[in-house]
Amino acid sequence: MPLTDSLRDDILASVPSLRAFAISLSGNSDRADDLVQETLLRALANIDSFQPGSNLPAWLFTILRNLFRSDYRKRRREVEDAEGNYAKTLKTHPSQGAHLEFEEFRAALDKLPQDQREALILVGASGFSYEDAAAICGCAVGTIKSRVNRARSKLAALLYVEGAEDFGPDETVRAVIGGSGG
């Protein structure tokens, strides 16, 4: 359909959740905003292929997700480097309390396989149904369900393993960052 005022407003209204999705996926706010910009440009360039009345957020999320995945392959090396630096940063500041908890959660999320992370975010944070999430990821509903379950199990294992609180921060960080090869 053509880019009407109301469609434009709807696209704009989706920007905050697109950014949240992009940051959750990439762990990097600069890169996330580049992803969102690219997503908007693609969406506007291909607006004719959007079906009126269909799910606009799901359509936009699909574009962003696909962009991220093609980008991800290119940038994988860079991300691994960043993780190395990240671990170092955490070890230098072991006593930042809640801030560290947030970083730990973020780091654990980054440890998930890509398929599981995106499924968990779409269902658990973006609030998409399993059906919409499956459409966005181009897979079966049952596959999404199992990815979400595995993501939750893995996060639980990374974050809440027995005695994690008794380890020094270094040990905790190591458990989170260095866990499985993945």
């Binding site: 905050p16 949240a20 440009l41 960043a82 809640a98 973020r106 975010i121 809440y160």
Partner: protein
């Protein structure tokens, strides 16, 4: 550089702290694969706290400008990405 934009948000940090301390009390940790409902709900809470924190930041000017400009010009946007870095500065006054 990771998530500089999020780090200063006390709300998330408070939630994280709360979540972590609660969860470690309630964890059934011996089975990494079998998690109880309590941990599941804590993880969901953490995930949404992280996500909603970004949602609450609203629409940065950068994107509002981009969409407004495209609307005014009526042109199809040029999708080619010129390189790795940020702005081509093509939408700014």
């Amino acid at each position: 550089m990771k998530l500089q934009g999020l780090n200063s948000r006390g709300n998330v940090e408070k939630v994280m702290k709360d979540v972590k301390s609660q969860a470690s009390k309630n964890a059934a940790p011996r089975k990494p694969g079998g998690l109880n409902a309590e941990i599941q709900s804590r993880i969901g809470h953490q995930l949404r706290a992280m996500y909603d924190d970004v949602v609450r930041q609203g629409v940065p000017d950068r994107f509002a400008d981009l969409i407004r400009k495209l609307d005014v010009s009526g042109e199809q946007p040029h999708v080619e990405h010129s390189g790795g870095s940020n702005d081509q500065n093509n939408g700014r006054d």
